[in-house]
């Protein structure tokens, strides 16, 4: 009975904290951000410019892989926007002076290098990396 309860508890808790979604999408951040756990809503707030400063201080700098399938998948999963809606959303901020466009990259390697070298940067990748990034745990 005790074992059953433990198993049930584990089954319930495990899906609540994952390092990425089932499709292999991983959120990474610059180690200086010191943020290991974020909720889905936190990711959405970051990628829509609602959250501009990390809790540990320092500006949030968003990196994206614009034009990729991964970008589309990420936006659908976390931001609830299509790539075109996302682009126009940020253009609105740019042309009203309320924000700067996310940093856009063509390859995951470039994005990872940027995140590693830029304080406060956050991005997403599809494959594991050995570079010194912080993998963000997504809690529900």
């Amino acid at each position: 009975m005790k074992m059953t309860t433990i198993l049930m508890t584990l089954l319930f808790i495990l899906p609540m904290a994952v390092f990425s979604d089932a499709a292999g999408l991983k959120i990474i951040a610059n180690p200086g951000a010191q943020t290991l756990e974020l909720k889905k809503k936190d990711i959405r707030d970051i990628y829509t410019g609602v959250t501009k400063i990390w809790e540990t201080d320092g500006k949030v700098i968003i990196a994206i892989l614009e034009g990729s399938e991964l970008h589309k998948q990420f936006l659908e999963e976390y931001v609830n926007k299509t790539p075109i809606q996302f682009r126009n959303y940020w253009r609105e901020k740019v042309f009203t002076g309320e924000g700067e466009s996310p940093k856009s990259f063509k390859t995951e390697k470039d994005l990872i290098d940027f995140v590693v070298n830029t304080k406060g940067a956050i991005g997403y990748i599809s494959s594991p990396t050995e570079k010194a990034v912080t993998f963000v745990k997504i809690t529900r």
């Binding site: 400063i53 609830n80 075109i84 253009r91 042309f95 002076g97």
Partner: protein, 417 residues
Amino acid sequence: MRTTMKMIFCLFIISWVQGEGVDAALTEEVSKINIHGYFSQGFLISSRNNFILDSKKGTFQFNELGINFTSQVTDRIHVGIQFAARDLGDTGNDKVLIDWAFADYNWRDWLGLRVGKMKLPIGFYSKTRDIDMLRTFILLPQGVYFESFRDTSAAMKGIGVYGVVSPGSLGNISYQASIGAAEIDIDSSSIQFAESIGDIHISKCDVDRIISGCLIWETPLKGLRAGATLFDIKLKCSGNITKDIVVPVDFPPYSITAARKGDLFINDIPKYQIKIFSIEYTWNNLVLAAEYLKLRQDMDIKIIAGFNTRARLNTESYYISGSYRFSNWYELGGYYSVCNKDLTPSITPPGLPYWDFQKDICVSMRFDLNAHWTFKMEGHLTDGVALCLPRHNPDETGAPVFARRWAMFGAKMTYTF
């Protein structure tokens, strides 16, 4: 030509600054100067009535251009400036103006401060109405986003606070509140519209103050947001009467001349207030929106010769719109917009009933040639002429003449970088 030269000059200066020093000296992501811009050229043609400009003949006097320079000075301080010019018939004429220029201090996500000239959020889409790339339609629903008020309600100089709060599971609530003033160009479309209330020529217009506030609730229901806006302006205009004001007396055919052509007048507007309630729902590639506007304008008109009158303009407008993106390059949208206005008492001789309303059905197609170039085509079928100006529709004697039902077609090409 002057406009283009100024723009090129600005571009040159900033490019030089970037190349020579700023980029090289500051390696952090903050501190760079970012440059973005847009240029659009449109064409409008209408049947039976001129709308906004002399559109019956078809016109290319319909363009916008802008360029902005922004920089993240520190983690929390952001500065920027946007120069913009537009041409819309006999207004704008590509005169380069500072569209916005402010310093932004983002203390917390829930509290930031802006000082300078900033865009005003009047409804969901007023802040971006100059940037054609951001919407499906060429003309926003005119009852709520009337072109003639655009230059007055676009931006103000002053101080503002903004932020976002997240009350638990209720989603996000963002706010923006500002107070300040604005300059109204005497050649602006707002002045033209104000002159249309009677036979007057306005030569001076001073804004005492503007108050603006906006609340937007991103609801927990994915894709649904709702908002409310308040815009309140107090101003005073003065000028001359352009035609004798003749008032009939109780025993016709007698009448008295209350004021003569050339007499000075002062139009004190203690209240010009717009309230807008907005809702928008986005589901994948479908966007549905509806907005309701209530406008009240109180006027105390004093003619130096002695004739005084008090009038109130009430306008009530609403629209529903929908757009659907079929592919990366094609989007189809439409809206139905209604505007009703009521000027009490009427200062000019009363017109026909359809002079006080305007109902518009619009269908729009948008083609994204790539991430930077967009082409749009749009058709309107309209009943009523509440938003058509008499000065654009005179008969041989100069008196306004309108057709009740009319149509309009527009096309526009935009480049954004």
